[in-house]
Symmetry: C2
Subunit: 399 residues, 2 copies
DNA sequence: CAGGTCATGTCAATCGTTTTCGATAACGTT
DNA sequence: AACGTTATCGAAAACGATTGACATGACCTG
């Protein structure tokens, strides 16, 4: 198996058709115009003589798609034990002799038995599926997804993804499907990354991830906005800057306030008096940030550095600086917050402070697993944002 | 419900706790240090007098998390019909009197019954889940995911996501979990976006999405690499460029060849003779592209425009141009391929040719649904790449 | 009015597991 | 030698739905 990336957005498949040593090449059916729509059938290779169970249907046309699934009954029969025993072996429960265990395992691998998740879910009332609700698949959820799926690997759980972008048909689809699943029968627990007002009637444990929670909202996992902003500002101060502008985030979001507070605290600790003129309105969006950057730079005594409440705003400021013929970081240092992918791609690459998305996802999973295990989970606290100095920050001019 | 984005990477939650009018505020349990880990219990409000079914357990402490799930039996009993009838009503099958249907529906909504997907899957041998296998959650799969999940909405299917990045523990996890699911019992069909060599023993229909398939590989869905490259090159030609460089993609990938062929065909049709010096090695990666760009620009007669086989390479070229003090597009026009998110963020924003990821995802779903319905699906052919002219391409200097 | 059709419903088997509980045999103890 | 303990295993009842076969009237036809 080899995986080849064209950075992060190109994927290459070398070969998708079955090449396993045992079995044989799977038949590719319905192959019109170079299309690959195959129904690869499982080919069984019973090596012990279990009559009439695996090879009952083997028509002349090789490899019909069907082929009765191997059940626990088949295994039990072949191993000459009861289904209960097979179940015990499969689930590693106590009370079966070593010899029996070995035999059952052998038969299982010979028959290629795989336990039916559906059937076992029905009986055990756990589906071993956790759901994630995102508003949309975008870079933010993406980082989380990677963390979540990586953490889930190695556990018994699979990940069901619900995207609730409400573009075309309103949110009828989302509401009826995704949210109903929370109270439904399919998932054991959920991680929500959506700005929904209500999570109705959930009968399963839920963990919320949210970088921009409102002040009154209970939070599960988020980044330490305050200390991240502090770090960013401190970075600027350490480079000798004293007039440091700030482009704020959305005023109704807690993160924006926390980030501004971090900024002000850093200034204060450095003995730099806060100048209201230097903290300018923004809303985390591009346009407002452009305006803010202009206003900042139009000041009679403009800042030598800007801390923007998020990368998008920082990128906007970077663009404004370019338009004005300012050298970055020569004439103006800029630092953002989030470390979105585009931050590394700008020219010059943007200094910023990173949200540990992967880690946040991992923490969310761990919390959820704890809840599912009935443990008394506790919040990991705010996750640290780490400084990512790149090339938009440099020493203050000593003139 | 309100959704607020800080562009595409910030999500804001206003309130996650239940606020439904019926029922009551759900209890938030385990609330240490501002954490939100709630088990919101479904509160039933039986309005007809169905004795002893919904309110059996109602301890003094309000809202215990549990509460026996209401099953089809409960509904049947309450509606005074048989379970078969309820089943028929739920599944809209023929043979139930209108009055009965109404009654059952009423009871269902009163009791808040939701069919157990697990149980119905067991009997009907369909799980109504389709799986997607991605190598990693990155921008490419992201676009697909959006298309896929949007298309899936409105169908009966849910989406199970498997990421197979093989970072930490090798690919043991991926192999044993994700791929085994293909032959397993959980999903009805799969869309694979992974560079795996083997898809072993799949007993379900599979559709492959792949932008960079090797020449011999059967393909389900991909973009028209040839015509996309043709379009990009043509764009440059239309702007008056005649010396057009090309930074190639990975030599072992079909897409790279197709893109180069498209480039050469456009030149040919415009009566511009192909100059081998102008087509330079690359591998879709940043570093090689930087080298290629330098080589191209070091030519005694350097190109006035460059078509890079992907955006990453184009961005690299853009950076090289900047380092060399070249104005883009004044001195040099650049166009890429893919339209990755970073393309819109560069300065100046990168002209490129877009892969219709959303559409590709939708097509994949439609093909898969067709296969699942037993239809004779056929490939939609290569999807068109569309020109996205931004600001890195301009008229050729007439000197 | 006997027999047939149609519209409605119900019965009971079934899907593949898990899990409780009892049966059996082997063994060690007095 | 009789009895109590273990260790091992199987029988059978769930789990919650689907489904085809059948039952029951009502209604129609000739």
């Amino acid at each position: 198996m080899s995986i080849v990336f064209d950075n992060v957005f190109e994927i290459h498949c070398e070969n998708v058709v079955e090449r396993s040593a045992i079995g044989r090449h799977a038949p590719v059916k319905s192959r019109n115009s170079g299309v690959f729509c195959a129904t690869v059938s499982e080919v069984m290779t019973p090596q012990t003589g279990i009559p009439g169970i695996a090879n009952a249907q083997q028509p002349q046309s090789p490899g019909e798609p069907s082929s009765a699934r191997v059940t626990i009954n088949d295994v039990a029969r072949a191993a000459q034990v009861s289904v209960s025993t097979v179940s015990k072996v499969v689930n590693g429960r106590y009370g079966v002799a070593p010899a029996t265990i070995a035999k059952v395992h052998q038969v299982i691998s010979e028959l290629g038995y795989e336990t039916s998740l559906v059937a076992s879910s029905l009986r055990s009332t756990r589906t071993n599926i956790i759901g994630i609700l995102v508003a949309e698949f975008e870079p933010f959820s993406l980082g989380l997804l990677n963390g979540i799926s990586a953490t889930l690997r190695g556990t018994q759980y699979d990940l069901m993804a619900y995207a609730g972008n409400l573009s075309p048909e309103g949110h009828a689809g989302w509401e009826r499907r995704s949210l109903s699943r929370l109270g439904g029968t399919l998932i054991d627990g959920a991680i929500i990354v959506t700005p929904t007002v209500e999570v109705p009637h959930s009968s399963v444990p839920v963990v919320a991830i949210d970088p921009h929670a409102g002040p009154e909202m209970p939070i599960a996992i988020d980044v330490d906005n305050h200390s991240g902003a502090y770090t960013a500002t401190r970075h600027l101060l350490d480079l000798g800057h004293r007039r440091i502008g700030h482009i704020r985030g959305r005023g109704d979001l807690a993160s924006a306030h926390l980030r501004e507070q971090g900024y002000r605290q850093a200034l204060e600790e450095a003995g730099v008096e806060f100048d209201g003129q230097l903290s300018h309105d923004g809303d985390y969006q591009h346009d407002a940030a452009v305006q803010a950057a202009h206003d900042l730079l139009d000041l009679p005594q403009p800042p030598t550095a800007i801390f923007a409440a998020n990368d998008l705003s920082a990128l906007a400021a970077l663009q404004v600086a370019g338009e004005r013929g300012l050298q970055v970081p020569g004439d103006l240092s800029i630092i953002g917050f989030d470390d979105i992918p585009a931050a590394a791609q700008s020219s010059p690459p943007l200094s910023t402070v990173r949200q540990p998305l992967h880690e946040m996802g991992a923490q969310a999973v761990n919390m959820l697993l704890g809840l599912l295990a009935g443990e008394d989970v506790r919040s990991p606290g705010h996750l640290p944002a780490v400084l990512v100095p790149r090339e938009t920050t440099g020493p203050a001019r000593t003139s």
